[in-house]
């Protein structure tokens, strides 16, 4: 489920619709206790539909550059994978039809109802290992573990539109784990997560109005101290602003989708090549262990054989390096264009966010003064 369903409306038009509708009438606030029904901030039908934000992964590139070669880490490619793989996870989660909007976001959103972050532990074409952490808005950790999988074959069936060959079992395992974690939570807890998410967002946007609705424990978890009134116009405004931000987030998410479909086939070639290199190296190591050279030790033939073994190994490795460069050359312009557009969208949000913050604080002050 996306924030805005149905035919795609131009981005700016969507934002305009959302903002023009922002109610500016002033009314007295009726405050509710924390254990009251939280209809002010959520709807009963959203209990199952927790929204998920998947942050761009941590590429898992060690700071120590001297380790990159040993660990077979290609930093630029890891950065690309860090943008691509969250999208594959997003597709896996969306396919379960058991979540609300599932979005890929460039930065972790601390007010997300459920924030999924990941680190690439290993990615060598043959195997993929990810560390996945999922934390809800209340600070509860749903998941923090490593998932590993073997790359699917080149002609393995693919469920997604882009045709990318991934390790379906790995992403399904993550999706299952998240579902299991959610199954352990009752409706009230899920409702609270949604409410806390909105209140954290509101607190960040209008701290004067929403600064005392949440309690934060020493372990970083949040609980609701009190809820805003059912008809609090500030909540309505916050929801509309969040809606506007979601439109931008969806536009960013769409950019990740475009990136994915544009470079998925090239990425597949890279992975396939990496897989072959790993297989070749494994076979060669076995061959070397079992090798019995007929040439007498110290003879020219024996020496050339030793030199050639090393030479071929190095040439294979260097060929891999040049293919990494070729991969970068090919996808570089697409990545740069996507980054520019995402940065543009984020810049717009940052600007608007500051303006919204100012407006809301002013409105709250006027409303409070009128009440008095």
């Amino acid at each position: 489920m996306r924030f805005i369903a149905g035919p795609r409306v131009p981005l700016l038009a969507q934002i305009a619709i959302l903002l023009i509708g922002m109610p500016l009438q002033l009314s007295a606030q009726e405050q509710l206790p924390a254990d009251a029904d939280a209809t002010a901030v959520t709807n009963a039908d959203r209990l199952e539909a927790i929204n998920v934000s998947i942050a761009v992964f941590d590429p898992g590139v060690p700071d120590d550059q001297s380790l990159h070669r040993d660990l077979q880490v290609f930093p630029r490619i890891r950065e690309i994978e860090a943008r691509l793989l969250p999208f594959v996870l997003r597709e896996a989660l969306a396919a379960t039809n058991s979540w609300g909007a599932v979005r890929v976001v460039p930065e972790p959103d601390i007010a997300a109802e459920l924030l999924v972050s990941g680190t690439i532990v290993r990615s060598d074409g043959e195997s993929l290992q990810l560390r996945i952490r999922a934390v809800d808005a209340s600070g509860r950790v749903w998941l923090d573990k490593e998932f590993g999988g073997v790359m699917a074959g080149k002609y393995a069936p693919s469920d997604n539109d882009s045709g990318v060959q991934v390790t379906p079992a790995l992403y399904e395992a993550i999706a299952d784990s998240l579902q299991q974690a959610r199954a352990q939570l009752d409706n009230k807890t899920l409702t609270n997560i949604v409410a806390i998410s909105l209140l954290r967002y509101a607190n960040a946007l209008a701290p004067t109005a929403f600064g005392d609705h949440l309690d934060r424990a020493a372990d970083g978890t949040f609980t609701i101290r009190r809820l805003p009134a059912r008809d609090d116009p500030m909540v309505e405004r916050i929801k509309r602003i969040r809606g506007a931000e979601y439109v931008i987030t969806d536009a960013v998410d769409e950019k990740f989708q475009e990136l994915h479909s544009e470079i998925a086939s090239i990425y597949d070639m890279w992975r396939e090549y990496r897989r072959k290199v790993v297989a070749y190296q494994t076979d060669n190591a076995k061959w070397l262990q079992n090798r019995r050279s007929d040439a007498p030790r110290g003879s020219y033939e024996a020496m050339v054989n030793l030199y050639d073994n090393y030479k071929m190994d190095r040439i294979t490795e260097q060929q891999q390096d040049s293919l990494a460069v070729a991969f970068n050359n090919e996808v570089g312009p697409t990545i740069a264009a996507m980054e520019a557009r995402v940065s543009e969208l984020e810049g717009w949000v940052d600007q608007q966010y500051a303006e919204w913050q100012r407006l809301l604080e002013e409105l709250f002050e006027v409303e409070t003064r009128l009440e008095q």
Partner: protein
């Protein structure tokens, strides 16, 4: 697969067995920028190269000098080396000649690495991080570099005690590069050394801009490349 630097040090001290490490700890460290800039395109200057038969004769003489004097045990004398010694020396000479065959070197250098690309052979890679040499190790051999003053020294240790060392020295006017290659083996009593000389040349600029891609291989254009 590649292992850590500590293993490499172990190999340097053990695999070499009877041979002393060519690159010691001091050579593997330097402060500031790299001691010399070897970058550029280099073509072989055959006129200055060692003549292999002359070197072989000299090596034969050296080998003869290492044969123990029968009259004065414990002292070297001059006697005909054994057939085994000659075969080992010939094998080293042939290998040295094979390895030093490339007639062109392309050396690229940045703050971390010196890469020496050779035709029909792998590119030698000398990596330094924070001024410390970072070796390359695989089941097939171990490669490590160091700086001996302004000379770049590359040492390759292969199984059976086979060792290939290159010393790169650039002339003061930066127009000439001398590469001294020494091949030694635990099966030979003396190493074999060949000197090759290279002169710098400027590669003419290409009329095409080319880049490598994964799906389209090499893509060239006379203008800007748009993928």
């Amino acid at each position: 697969m590649k292992r850590t630097w500590s293993t490499l040090v172990l190999c340097l001290s053990m695999v070499g067995c009877s041979q002393n490490p060519v690159i010691d700890d001091e050579m593997m460290r330097f402060e500031g920028p790299m001691p010399a800039d070897l970058s550029g395109s280099w073509e072989r200057d055959y006129a200055l190269d060692d003549e292999i038969n002359a070197v072989l004769r000299q090596a034969y003489y050296s080998l003869s000098r290492t044969v123990p004097d029968q009259g004065y045990p414990g002292r070297p004398g001059v006697a005909a080396p054994s057939q085994k010694d000659i075969s080992s020396l010939m094998a080293l000479a042939r290998l040295a000649e094979l390895i030093t065959r490339p007639d062109e070197l392309t050396i690229s250098q940045n703050e971390h690495e010196v890469s020496i690309a050779r035709k029909d052979d792998f590119a030698m890679l000398c990596a330094f991080y924070d001024g410390v040499a970072k070796g390359i190790e695989s089941v097939y051999g171990t490669e490590i570099c160091g700086w001996d003053g302004q000379q770049l020294v590359s040492n390759l240790l292969l199984p059976d005690g086979l060792q290939v060392t290159h010393r790169f020295t650039i002339s003061a006017d930066r127009k000439q590069l001398r590469v001294v290659t020494t091949v030694s083996s635990s099966t030979s009593r003396i190493p074999f050394t060949l000197r090759r000389f290279y002169k710098k040349f400027d590669r003419p600029p290409s009329k095409f801009n080319c880049i490598e891609t994964l799906s389209m291989k090499r893509v060239c254009s006379t203008g800007e490349i748009e993928l």
